[in-house]
Amino acid sequence: MAGLTTTKQAHVSHDLGMHTEALRGKTQQRFFDVTQEVGGYGYPDALDVDFNKRAELDCEKLDTKQINSQLRDLMKRGYGTIVLQNPGSKHSIAVGILNRLNLYIEGSCGYFALGLLDGPNVKVKGRVGWACGENMLSGTILIEKNAGSQFGAALRGGDIVCKGSVGARTGIDQKGGNIIVGGDTGSFTGFMMQRGRMVICGNAGKNLGDSMYDGTIYLGGEARSLGVDAVPGEITDLDREWLTRKLKMYGLYPKKGIGHFKKIVAGKQLWNYDNLEPGEKKLVL
């Protein structure tokens, strides 16, 4: 194709002869001694940072790439507490951090902030745009003001909390973790949710939990409508204990308690196990 050039990227994989590997999903057998001594609590390749080592980064004259590379450089130098000043609502800030970290963002972020995190604890003083915390694996994100649509989209683990209100399609395709909203949420919240928990302290827009496969939604206010296959569930003591602990943890425990919260779960009526067998298909044809 015109305009495209190939670059020779050196990979260790070629030296190991793995460049011809076929990805067939073959079952692996690996043996691991659970009683052996383990060196620490982080991934073997995680950056070794110290929470007591603190740095500040002024983002005013930096673009996204510069912010993210300087952030990584600070972590490589062992800084475990980093403050980003003047983020200026720039997009894609602080993505793909795979180690523990205390990150404070003194302002607002644009689209796709804090995506693909695996470990950090993040506090944002301002607002965030679309798809904040998308695909997060673990850690905590706390937003002090409002968030845009697709808040916590495809979340896989960890807690993502917005003290204000959020837009539509909150937690779309959620696969785990917890999404907590102090205010209201828009339409199609929890669309195609697969597992995990969602807490909405205020009201929800139309079609709450539409086409959810599994997972739990706790709703403090009212939903304009429930989506297809989203049905009321029964709140247990474990639910109440969990709700109380999580909401207190993020300073969102309502003055009137949690007695008014409703639980929404999947009705499992859309689970499709009725595909016709090949023999049956012949009869239809």
């Binding site: 659970v34 673990s138 896989r156 599994d214 639910d239 009526q269 196990y273």
Partner: protein
């Protein structure tokens, strides 16, 4: 219309999928020869009274006030063997046969969380090898 009612069966016992690895109870499951749904309760909330000392140390190291992503980790069952699903290598990690299983799912879940963390931190984890093989040089 296809797929308009749940045809699966409920989980009745903690050892159900060890004693019966196929787990076919409802008539539809027997008809299609496949268990419908998960082999454990994905919505089960952890009982924090059962947390292990190792997990406490891990949470302290990460700076978390609770189990965080581990709330979604449960002990499951693969082909009649107790196992944990590891999202980092997209496969089941089986529990060694010499490990004695507790008699309730909450304690089994805590055990699963601890073993999964130990496995992910181990230099024998497949991600370590993949990282060495595929990461960009320089």
């Amino acid at each position: 219309m296809a797929g308009t009612s749940y045809k699966g069966s409920d989980i009745k016992s903690v050892d159900q999928f060890i004693k019966d690895k196929a787990g076919l109870s409802s008539s539809r499951e027997k008809e299609i020869g496949q268990h419908i749904g998960y082999r454990y309760d994905v919505n089960l909330i952890p009982d924090y009274n059962r947390i292990t000392p190792f997990l406490k140390g891990y949470l302290e190291f990460m700076g978390w006030d609770d189990l965080n992503w581990l709330e979604d980790v449960h002990m499951g069952y693969e082909e009649g063997e107790p196992a944990i699903f590891d999202r980092n290598c997209n496969g089941w990690v089986r529990i060694p046969k010499n490990v004695k299983l507790p008699n309730n799912q909450q304690d089994r879940d805590m055990m699963a969380r601890e073993l999964l963390i130990k496995f992910q931190m181990s230099p024998k984890h497949p991600m370590v090898q993949l990282n060495k093989a595929y990461r960009k040089v320089g």
